[in-house]
Symmetry: C2
Subunit: 298 residues, 2 copies
């Protein structure tokens, strides 16, 4: 291929180098290199699961966090969304917006971090795209699958259901937003066991995400502030409003609570933090302001 290689654009060679270390994936018929990727569809009785998400320099990370942390956060955020659906992530499509001043080595290290995660979770690389931009950003689109009907949606919470979170809340600003672990195994287990009536991940903070879940379910809620699993050094207000916990927020019918707490097979902390109320009642937040994180107001 020596002759044709000479006239292949440098951009293609650069992308090829970035994605070289990506693990092979058996579902992928044709990956990067053609205009689209071709895949074998989800197996019988499974639904297709889709997500797209972006991280942007100076919004979701600082360049000083370093390439490994940036690449990791970009992929982990999407995996956290799959966790929230109790779904298995399978393929990634990665777009990078890349400033001219940034060295190709920096991007290479972002991809290396992403491919390490891919290896851990068996993720294929189904596509990629590169463009110039003024700031560094990654957009990750992902496909996966879930057994039909098993995903806990945001809309499934009913009055009386108990509200749970995994892990601890607060402290994103202190660096946790880069180092969190997506709760994939926990989310899959909750869906398989049919324990969660509603579920989502805490990307914008309990103070913003719990109202979203409540709105989708047309219910209200009461939080026992004293029970919140605070990250060491955080106040209840920080735990509620810092955002970027990437823990699971889910509700469980009262009759299943004992089974959940008895069977929970993970070291990950599990905390009941309140109850779902009928819509006609005011939300009770123990006097803590629920504001969460808004990309356009902060």
């Amino acid at each position: 291929m020596a002759r044709t290689t000479k006239i292949i654009p440098s951009e293609d060679r650069r992308i090829a180098a970035w994605i070289k270390s990506w693990p092979k994936n058996s579902r992928l018929i044709t990956g990067p290199g053609d205009d689209c990727a071709l895949l074998h569809p989800a197996g019988r009785g499974r639904w297709l699961v889709l997500k797209t998400d972006a991280v942007v320099q100076d919004v979701h990370f600082k360049l000083s966090a370093g390439p490994a942390a940036i690449g990791t956060k970009a992929v982990h955020r999407v995996l956290s969304d799959f966790a929230a659906m109790g779904a298995r992530p399978e393929q990634l499509l990665i777009t990078v917006g890349c400033p001219l001043h940034l060295s190709p080595g920096f991007i290479q290290k972002c991809y290396s971090a992403m491919s390490r995660i891919a290896r851990r979770h068996g993720l294929g690389l189904a596509g990629g795209e590169t463009t110039r931009s003024r700031e560094l950003w990654f957009n990750i689109a992902a496909t996966g699958s879930v057994q039909a009907g098993r995903s806990p949606l945001r809309s499934g919470a009913r009055p009386g259901h108990v509200i749970y979170v995994t892990g601890s809340l607060g402290g994103a600003a202190a660096g946790r937003h880069l180092t969190f672990t997506p709760r994939l195994r926990e989310g899959l287990w909750l869906a398989e066991q049919r324990l969660a009536s509603a579920m989502m991940d805490l990307s914008d903070g309990l103070g913003k995400d719990l109202p979203r879940l409540a709105a989708a379910s047309r219910v209200s809620f009461a939080i026992e502030t004293a029970r919140l699993p605070l990250t060491r050094g955080c106040t209840a207000s920080q735990a509620i409003n810092d955002g970027e916990d990437y823990e699971l927020l889910f509700t469980v019918p009262a009759r299943l609570v004992v089974r959940l707490e008895k069977d929970w097979p993970f070291k990950t902390k599990l905390t009941a933090i309140g109850k779902i109320l009928p819509l006609r009642l005011n939300a009770q937040t123990g006097g803590v302001n629920f504001r969460g994180y808004d990309h356009f107001t902060r």
Copy 2:
């Protein structure tokens, strides 16, 4: 829902307004609003098709092009990739990177243009994401399907196959890069009729994309420059190197050429521009420099 609506973040309300006009889609079980979208998988005997692509302010468009042209280009670029695979696009996931100075009305008009295209092609909106950024950009990820084994890949060209392009080439800078029509019907037809041995869309110009196709197929090529279908007012060099034609480039085995030209059911122009050669021969470009478009060198 009055009570919970009050505590729903303004960002959610803004996104809801942007996507309100999007047509319903029967394959979509859960769309925007949950952590991921859930879909019925591709039907029996069909493969899943995936693509991600971005357009960035001052790289792919100027703000002065206006929101309708920007939204249209963002989606049409992706549809052009589906055309190149002879595949049916089905779902879009749209991320917008939005500068604070840009009015929500501007973004609303981008989405309106995208939803008009969605209505025309029966596309669902499976997800969306919004983030702040320094410049406006859209990342569009799309899923679709194709009959198993029917997509012409870039790697299928063989010596002796005739090289074709649809439409005319050149003139992107004069505005065509915003107003092109993705060749979806033509691509689908070529795949269904099993006429194209290799196919791709011309996003970076014949001068860059034909070498890509040749490299993937491990062949060389000869272009008859005099036969290139030039956009009015363009030179051969512009037709080859301007980029952003979004026409189909494909190869056809010699024995199928008569059938192709006889049965071609479209008004879209169809032009044989050269032949595939064995790899050992030098590429012949009639003395015109093949350089195409490189995001990192222009």
